[in-house]
């Protein structure tokens, strides 16, 4: 290692963890402080803006401490600012004393950013419902920027007042509409499975519903189709699914 690099590493070690590593010799304290504060504040801002609920649920002191820990101990490997929250999420996996719902909650908060900036192939003209098309007879696909999520906690309901203590399976569809808004829809397990089916294999609503009715041995196929068609129509109106 070169001499100037030894100095650089002492400089950044101190920035990362001033309690553990003293500043390099003969660097003026108030000038060193500029860098300590600037690095920490930048990262604190970039992370906090993505995880407002996590921050609220943990409280200011714990949140601050967590980001201190992130700056001190995590080696970020992406130069893209947008990916700082994703790296924080990876860092959280190594923290052992978090409430069990916190990582799912953080993931749920990060997904909004991920879907809002997800790259998709040039958006084809969205086909909407018309008299000629319907969800039962047309092939359905999930909208390009979207994801289906299953959590062990009702992440979308968590707040400072509601911190879940028992496991409650939660299914969500997150998607970006043509106005670039990110939308969340809570799903029941049947709709979740229907959309998983469509995601893995685009097919007409009728085929997807028939397969699902068969799998779940639902007794009344006609009723199942009618309910299913209503749900699909609604998802289509919201631009969560598209017809082709």
């Amino acid at each position: 290692m070169l001499d100037f690099q030894r100095y650089q590493l002492a400089f950044t070690a101190h920035i990362r963890n001033p309690e553990l590593h003293p500043k390099p010799a003969n660097v003026i304290e108030n000038r060193m402080a500029v860098y300590r504060e600037s690095v920490f504040n930048n990262i604190f801002e970039s992370v906090s803006v993505c995880f407002p609920v996590c921050q609220n649920v943990l409280g200011k002191r714990k949140w601050h401490h967590l980001i201190r820990n992130f700056v001190a101990n995590y080696s970020a490997n992406s130069p893209l600012f947008r990916e700082i929250p994703q790296q924080f999420l990876a860092f959280l996996e190594s923290i052992t004393d978090l409430p069990p719902y916190l990582i799912p909650l953080a993931h749920y908060e990060w997904v909004e950013l991920a879907i809002s900036s997800q790259q998709t192939r040039a958006q084809s003209i969205q086909q909407t419902l018309s008299t000629e098309s319907n969800c039962l007879d047309n092939v359905i696909t999930l909208t390009p920027a979207s994801t289906l999520l299953a959590y062990d906690y009702p992440v979308h309901k968590i707040s400072k007042r509601f911190k879940p203590t028992i496991i409650e399976k939660t299914y969500l569809l997150v998607f970006r509409n043509t106005s670039f808004e990110v939308k969340f829809i809570a799903l029941n397990s049947v709709t979740f499975n229907l959309l998983l089916h469509i995601q893995s294999q685009p097919s007409t609503g009728r085929l997807a519903l028939a397969a699902l009715a068969n799998e779940s041995q639902y007794p009344d196929l006609e009723l199942f189709m009618r309910f299913g068609a209503e749900i699909l129509d609604d998802l289509c109106k919201q631009q969560a699914i598209t017809l082709s």
Partner: protein, 316 residues
């Protein structure tokens, strides 16, 4: 769009909050009927973006970028290449930059003469800030080699910016301008001259000397032929002898004076207003963009002093 020659006049750093305002005030070229002088953004000749904010961005950002690419020449001004960093140069990222420049027809990529990563745990260890490289011979060679490697990968010349800094490294063996010139020469790259940073550093390291004189001396030692592009911005005064390069306030008069001196010495060059914090509404910002344009107009047909000096030297 767009060739290097199209990066000219005055420009504005593209902040997200400015995008809808520019889109609202944008008028197709050659429509000189703008009735409201305040609303005119005609002096924005180009815009600048940080690749770290726009690479791989889909959705709204992608659509916005497409809008600007159709209408404005664009400069890429990087923040995280870490030219002075101890980790291996991030060639995967550079290839992304190359692809991004090419896909969006962006003719100029500039970076800071600084570092932002520390190779912590054998990973890049990004700290997402501009940290000061100690001014030593070893550092000159090291950084210059990485700039050359960058230029080889991109297949084009880059410009490096004189960065603002706050903490002098006790191990430095030369001053900033000597370091900058040595790197420029060794790397054979362009200079992205940041006018505000000259002033900020002059105040921050003036000790008992006159910062204005220090800044002027710095400017006089700039190699004119390497200047391709420049920045001007405001800063925050934390104390009388400590300025922080926040880009959060109006440009102050001594910095305008430096720009004026630079144009007088070197002739005019494309100059961009950076405003990253406390961003006022666009019409207010335009006063400073217009001011850049006015300074440029004032020096438009004058022979730069340095040019005359060079000429004299050749003749003698």
């Amino acid at each position: 769009m767009s060739s290097l020659a199209e990066i000219k006049g005055a420009g504005l750093g593209l902040k997200r909050e400015l995008i809808p305002q520019i889109q609202n005030l944008y008028q197709e070229p050659y429509n000189a009927e703008s009735s409201n002088q305040d609303a005119s953004i005609a002096n924005i000749h180009f815009v600048e973006i940080a690749p770290e904010n726009w690479i791989n961005a889909g959705g709204k950002a992608e659509a916005d970028l497409a809008w600007f690419i159709e209408r404005y020449p664009i400069v890429c001004h990087g923040l995280c290449l870490s030219l002075g960093g101890p980790d291996p140069l991030n060639t995967d990222f550079l290839k992304q930059v190359k692809q991004f420049l090419s896909a969006n027809k962006i003719p100029l990529y500039t970076e800071h003469l600084s570092y932002c990563s520390d190779y912590y745990q054998n990973q890049p260890g990004y700290l997402y800030d501009l940290l000061p490289i100690p001014f030593t011979e070893e550092a000159v060679k090291y950084v210059a080699q990485r700039i050359r490697q960058t230029q080889d990968i991109l297949g084009q010349r880059i410009a490096i910016e004189n960065a603002s800094f706050y903490a002098a490294a006790p191990i430095s063996t030369m001053d900033e301008i000597t370091f900058l010139n040595a790197v420029l020469q060794e790397a054979d790259c362009w200079l992205h001259l940041d006018i505000n940073n000259i002033y900020v550093n002059s105040v921050n390291f003036a000790q008992q000397q006159d910062p204005i004189k220090l800044a002027q001396d710095f400017l006089h030692r700039i190699p004119a032929e390497r200047i391709i592009y420049s920045h001007i911005a405001g800063h925050y005064q934390q104390s009388p002898n400590l300025l922080i390069d926040t880009h959060g306030k109006d440009v102050i008069d001594p910095v305008w004076d430096l720009l004026d001196t630079a144009y007088r010495l070197f002739g005019i060059f494309p100059t961009l207003l950076e405003r990253d914090n406390n961003v006022p509404p666009l019409p207010i910002l335009m006063r400073e963009v217009n001011k850049i344009a006015a300074y440029q107009a004032n020096h438009q047909n004058k022979q730069p002093v340095n040019f005359q000096q060079n000429l004299t030297r050749v003749i003698c």
